[in-house]
């Protein structure tokens, strides 16, 4: 069947589709609130019908009928395989090595995919305080790979985070190994302007694609660290089928689709 690309779609929809496409069939996905939920539900309704959605609050492999507003939302109970709690999911699923892909976001993301969800400025006298790690630090440490979702602004993409809440590649290819992390690391950053991936050798982020309507140069200008855009091409747009499922099945209540992210 020929792919029919959608003509009208919002930035949120484009990002949700990009997130969904990072999930492969049969994978076990650690999903957080917002875009990761949209992406996971979309994936489950398109190319990855057998992907298993895990929420840190306890629900494993639920069949969502209504989009949750929280990882602890009662909607995550629907038709789940098991529903325990944080300790069981974090330890026997995540730390035991069963999560194929986890989603992350945060206030700052740096060149090595490290994330700050804690504070701007000194930790003990912060200029701005954020909610803190939540499960983000755990997903970053213990998923087999992670996908980061972010609003693309210069101040949000510094060379180095003020505080590393969720380690990415830390300081390069050997960073995680030196820290003692058993596996994992970020694979992509899906932003409001494009998709960043990590150089195999240096583990620094480079621009893999820019979204329709944006140029690679614009992405570079809006990035606080030096961004390699030499390999960038245009992001593959959402298909009509993806947008239809997203709107009609995933988020018909418009819980996230019409709200700005963060």
């Amino acid at each position: 069947m020929e792919k029919k690309y959608a003509k009208n779609f919002s930035l949120m929809e484009l990002m949700a589709v990009a997130a969904a496409r990072e999930i492969r069939d049969h994978e076990i996905v650690f999903a957080g609130t917002g875009l990761p939920m949209l992406g996971s539900m979309l994936a489950q309704n398109t190319h990855a019908q057998n992907c298993v959605i895990v929420f840190e609050a306890g629900a494993v492999d639920c069949k969502l009928a209504h989009l949750p507003m929280s990882v602890g939302d009662p909607r995550t109970m629907r038709m789940a395989s098991t529903a325990t709690g944080l300790f069981d999911v974090f330890s026997t699923v995540l730390q035991r090595g069963w999560i194929d892909v986890g989603f992350l976001s945060g206030a700052q993301i740096d060149a090595y995919g490290n994330i700050n969800a804690t504070c701007i400025g000194d930790y003990k006298k912060p200029k701005v305080r954020f909610p803190g790690s939540g499960g983000s630090g755990d997903i970053a440490c213990l998923s087999k790979r992670t996908i980061i979702i972010a609003v693309h602004e210069k101040r949000r993409f510094p060379e180095r985070c003020d505080y590393i809440t969720s380690p990415g590649w830390i300081d390069g290819p050997d960073g995680r190994n030196k820290a003692g992390l058993p596996w994992g690391g970020p694979e992509a950053i899906i932003t409001t302007m494009g998709v960043l991936k990590f150089d195999e050798k240096t583990k620094r982020a480079y621009l893999a694609s820019y979204h329709p309507g944006v140029t690679a140069e614009q992405v570079k200008e809006n990035t606080g660290f030096d961004l390699d855009i030499s390999r960038a091409e245009e992001t593959e747009p959402p298909t009509e089928a993806e947008i239809k499922i997203l709107r009609e099945k995933v988020d018909p209540e418009l819980i996230f689709l019409k709200k700005g992210e963060d």
């Binding site: 840190e56 602890g72 803190g132």
Partner: protein
């Protein structure tokens, strides 16, 4: 080990008076959008509790109100926000930025492991989580604070595993003075049944020295003992039982009622500003004498009908959530 039946069932006001001294280390149950013991939180605020040391994983408005009302001295946590309803707890943010409280950050798994270790009766637990993060390096508590009771002597310790050589972080356990959870059903003796995910309630209760359970229903002894494997906390661990229907509002209680998006959005609007937060506290906490009166204030039967959970789904599928 005196466990007299009649003594355990009591009012909110009695339970707070009896079990929450100023300065207590307190852990509150629930997670993100569900089962925070809010009626108990309101009563602690009304009784003007001081210098509480809160330990938890991902609290939301429960901690935020306590912090905003000036009840809190110190927190150990992973996250304080209401996710889609409010991406940061406004009073927590301000209290930290103004230096009004002491805080220490771990990850969700980190905190839940510390509490689980407390429940297991061990002094620490090893983990791979947080390795490579600044949670290993940046410390919130001062050396003075580290000497206090119920505060771990170190934030954590890095170690090479003596069996495998791999690096692990040892996290100190937590055994709160009191854990307060909100469950669906408790029997008059204290056996607790929770529907849906348990979150961290099991570990938080078992870690604590004393346990208070607020609940939707108190049932007779026999009712919960037909399927003991569905109960999570043995009766003898529970010190106080308080029946407070809708006691988790504005949060959800699986199979009973859904969260209240309207109230949660309102809270996050008002709590950002000192003056409007004060008005909110006056209206919903200080200005009401009972949880029943509070429920009237938030919309009474009409609101509660909207939140009522569908029997099959356990939530309110038609609830307007935006």
């Amino acid at each position: 080990m005196e466990t007299h039946l009649e003594d355990k069932v009591m009012s909110l006001s009695e339970a707070v008076k009896k079990f929450i001294p100023d300065g207590a280390q307190v852990s509150l149950g629930g997670f993100t959008a569900q089962r925070h013991p809010m009626a108990f939180v309101h009563e602690m605020i009304r009784q003007k509790k001081k210098d509480l040391h809160l330990v938890g994983h991902s609290p939301g408005g429960d901690w935020d109100m306590l912090i905003g009302a000036g009840c809190v001295k110190r927190v150990e946590l992973a996250y304080e926000a209401d996710e889609a309803f409010g991406r940061i707890g406004p009073r927590f943010r301000l209290a930290v930025q103004r230096g009004e409280i002491e805080w220490e950050d771990y990850s969700n798994f980190g905190m839940v492991q510390r509490i689980a270790a407390g429940a297991m009766g061990i002094p620490f637990i090893p983990t791979y989580t947080m390795l490579g993060s600044d949670m290993l390096k940046k410390e919130g508590f001062s050396a003075e604070t580290r000497k206090l009771r119920k505060v771990p002597s170190k934030k954590l310790v890095l170690m090479d595993c003596p069996f495998t050589g791999s690096k692990v972080a040892l996290l100190p356990s937590v055994q709160p003075d009191v854990t307060v959870i909100h469950a669906q059903v408790v029997d008059a003796q204290g056996t607790v049944r929770i529907y849906g995910q348990n979150f961290g309630d099991d570990q938080q209760a078992k870690a604590a020295d004393k346990v208070i359970v607020t609940c939707e229903e108190v049932v007779q002894l026999e009712e919960l003992r037909d399927y003991p494997e569905h109960n999570c906390i043995p009766f003898f661990r529970v010190n106080a039982i308080v029946k407070v229907p809708y006691g988790a509002h504005p949060y959800a209680c699986y199979r009973y009622y859904d969260y209240d998006p309207e109230f949660l959005h309102m809270y996050h609007d008002k709590a950002r500003d000192d003056a409007s937060f004060k008005v909110l506290l006056d209206e919903y906490v200080y200005g009401v004498k009972s949880w029943g009166e509070y429920l009237e204030k938030i919309g009474g039967d009409e609101k509660l009908k909207k939140l009522k959970a569908d029997k099959l789904l356990g939530y309110a599928p038609k609830l307007k959530r935006r």
